[in-house]
Symmetry: C2
Subunit: 435 residues, 2 copies
């Protein structure tokens, strides 16, 4: 708790402690870099592809909706805090389909489904409802950096556990829990947070056997400490080769250990700001109560639009098209990496089978990838290309990999810009590495 006491003594009189914690987030710094270097070709931004946004589909659906007076009135009126029940039922059916089981086998009532303002709000609500300041959350090393800020804003300590090409390593979780038990702080561990599909930043998907191992491990620890798994499945639908494994939620026979969240920001449109999630019974009331205090419920109109798109099959058509579009972009950035980057000594990355990120590792000792290193300003100022330094993704920013890693996004740039961006990055790297 020393970190928090320190903050308390330093803070100015007119902000709350929670306001101070929130101010440490890194996304603001990153966005400021985008503002400071506006002429950069950004491989940093997590925006989605402009050309595949569902303009016509949205127009048609809203036209249908707003020419049906009964539906239109409902869509423009207040909804409930949890969101449209019809949409929540439809999402559960859709989830069962993704998981290759029947809705009856999934066996989750709509009361456990919550519609939120993007999956970010779901992540934040769960965090606020579950954790007290000083509590502990385990996260993959590396992990989605915005969630690290969400934890920090709630005064929660994030502890990183090692990952490999199959996802998080169960033995690493086990070892961390043993250490915490010895230190007497196991009782503060409430949750394990994982991006389970084409993760941000590495592009790695947890294998089915790894999912089962992690669930078994949490079950073994149950008698010592109840630990939830928060499964962030934001990129689940953006697969390129084959559908990914079932969700951890569906593999957990208790249906109470896993908190799942998905979003329409990546698979449809971020401008609708609609995400959703499944809560364990015990968290339904606290999370919904908090959401009620935050905003009474997310925009109703967007919920009606999404319900229409799923019911008419247009959403499914759209995600099929998106998979093709992002696969082409993955191919473009990968080809450029092979031609420009992998020819340099010691460079490595895994080819992502979905999502929108490549996690690049550079050889140690040459230069480092941090904001305050020499590579980032070289690239941003001289070569006019921007990446996200790997340091942002580690719970402990002094992690050795934080010196030699970066995230490259192929989400927003078109294929020709991706190739150009990688050429610029290669020039910056050669300059810095003396190649």
């Amino acid at each position: 708790m020393s970190k928090h006491s320190e903050t308390l003594s330093k803070r100015t009189a007119f902000h709350s402690l929670r306001g101070d914690w929130a101010s440490r987030q890194q996304i603001g710094y990153l966005m400021q870099q985008g503002v400071d270097y506006p002429d950069c070709l950004s491989l940093a931004a997590g925006l989605v592809d402009y050309d595949s946004l569902p303009i016509e589909t949205t127009r048609e659906s809203l036209e249908r909706l707003l020419t049906e007076p009964r539906l239109a009135r409902q869509a423009l009126q207040y909804g409930t805090t949890s969101g449209s029940k019809a949409l929540r039922q439809t999402l559960l059916d859709y989830l069962a389909l993704l998981d290759g089981i029947t809705p009856g086998e999934l066996n989750i009532p709509p009361e456990r489904c919550l519609i939120t303002t993007g999956s970010q709000q779901f992540l934040d609500l769960v965090t606020q409802a579950l954790f007290n300041p000083g509590d502990i959350c385990l996260v993959g090393d590396p992990t989605y950096f915005v969630y690290l800020s969400t934890l920090e804003a709630a005064g929660v300590t994030a502890l990183g556990v090692a990952c490999d090409h199959h996802g998080v390593i169960p033995a690493a979780i086990d070892e961390t829990l043993r250490q915490l038990e010895r230190a007497g702080t196991l009782g503060r561990v409430k949750m394990l947070y994982l991006v389970t599909y084409f993760d941000n930043p590495r592009g790695v998907t947890m294998t089915e056997s790894r999912r089962r191992e992690v669930l078994e491990l949490l079950e073994r620890w149950e008698s010592h400490q109840h630990i939830y798994l928060l499964e962030d499945a934001a990129y689940r639908e953006l697969w390129f080769e084959a559908p990914p494994p079932p969700s951890c939620l569906s593999l957990d026979s208790t249906r109470e250990r896993v908190i799942l969240t998905q979003t329409f920001s990546k698979s449809l449109s971020p401008g609708l700001r609609t995400g959703w999630g499944i809560l364990p019974h015990k968290l339904v009331k606290p999370v919904t109560d908090l959401k009620s205090v935050h905003d009474f419920g997310s925009p109703h109109l967007a919920q009606f639009l999404i319900l229409d798109l799923i019911q008419t099959g247009r959403y499914q058509q759209h995600t099929a098209m998106l998979r093709q579009s992002y696969r082409n972009k993955r191919n473009a950035i990968w080809k450029a990496l092979e031609q420009e980057i992998f020819v340099l000594p010691g460079m490595s990355a895994d080819c992502p089978a979905g999502g929108m990120y490549v996690w690049l590792t550079i050889p140690p000792g040459g230069c480092n990838t941090r904001f305050e290193g020499t590579l980032f300003p070289e690239c941003a100022q001289r070569e006019k290309v921007m990446f996200v330094p790997g340091e942002l993704f580690f719970a402990d920013r002094s992690h050795p990999s934080a010196d030699v890693t970066m995230r490259l996004s192929f989400g927003v740039q078109n294929e020709s810009n991706l190739a150009e961006g990688i050429r610029r990055l290669a020039r910056g790297l050669r300059q810095q590495l003396g190649g």
Copy 2:
């Protein structure tokens, strides 16, 4: 802090303290009453009128927006946390117009304007960014009960100050601050919250001179304690006879003492969940940082829609129509009150000059208006009409007026239902009062 410690010891292992605070909110209980008595004619619900929702206007605007590829792409992409800058600039111009001054005289940059998911999110963000648990907020007695829950969810103590027909009473604020100073807790008072136009629940608007008196009072106390005024102007545009006085914000020459919020939920459509507010310089970063943690920004599509409606003048046409529509409903409920209620001894209410609420006071000693009294179940179960008990609107629910007051809404029911609802209420009252 004893209240908080008590909560801490009672709470179950799997919820946070903040989750517990949020669970005390009353709106959930109220909505449950609506579920328990579905055949009731509700004079309780804060929903807006269905028949005047802007269906056609919304359809046309979205059609314009989504057939313009450049705009459509922006609307469907991520925006910034603060919201569309074009909309924020337009809102400042609109605010200046409402306040009868030029944008130059208003002199507030768009950086100080934040777009939120309804004004509720603005209220919650300000509360979280400003207050630490144990801090104090002054509120009108009675006041908007949802905001009392927002304060409670942040662990803030609400202290009620008396109001009259001109708004909050400056001498009552002054006396409360003196008492707090003597008790040594003045340093915890961060803010005064007021619904300054056609308030919820009383329908009263603060007069211009009262606004100036309150601002002067806060200025006098400045050397002892800096206290913000949070001005909730949700019902500002729903005036029936004449435009109401300028905002407290515009009357404060420093432009730094008043935090203002307005919403499109009442004046356009709650289904868009779009509100906005003006922050003092010192709170811009903490509040925006918190919003970034909560959701990265409110739905972009709704922001583009609202910008279009204001720029084309359709929003202004719509609010003019709404004023007529709600005036007719006010006339209907008032006529029914005169015929059915005011003929009973000791009944009183002020005729609202705007908004959507009537605050009815019944004679003391006969029956009480609380959920647990005999009138509420008599009305809900037998007469099939529902009101909101006055107790919800008092910071201290043991306030004597909490026994004899109720809020009646003329927002959602049509004119004939309003008359019928009042007839039912009159029967319930006569039954209970033995009239």
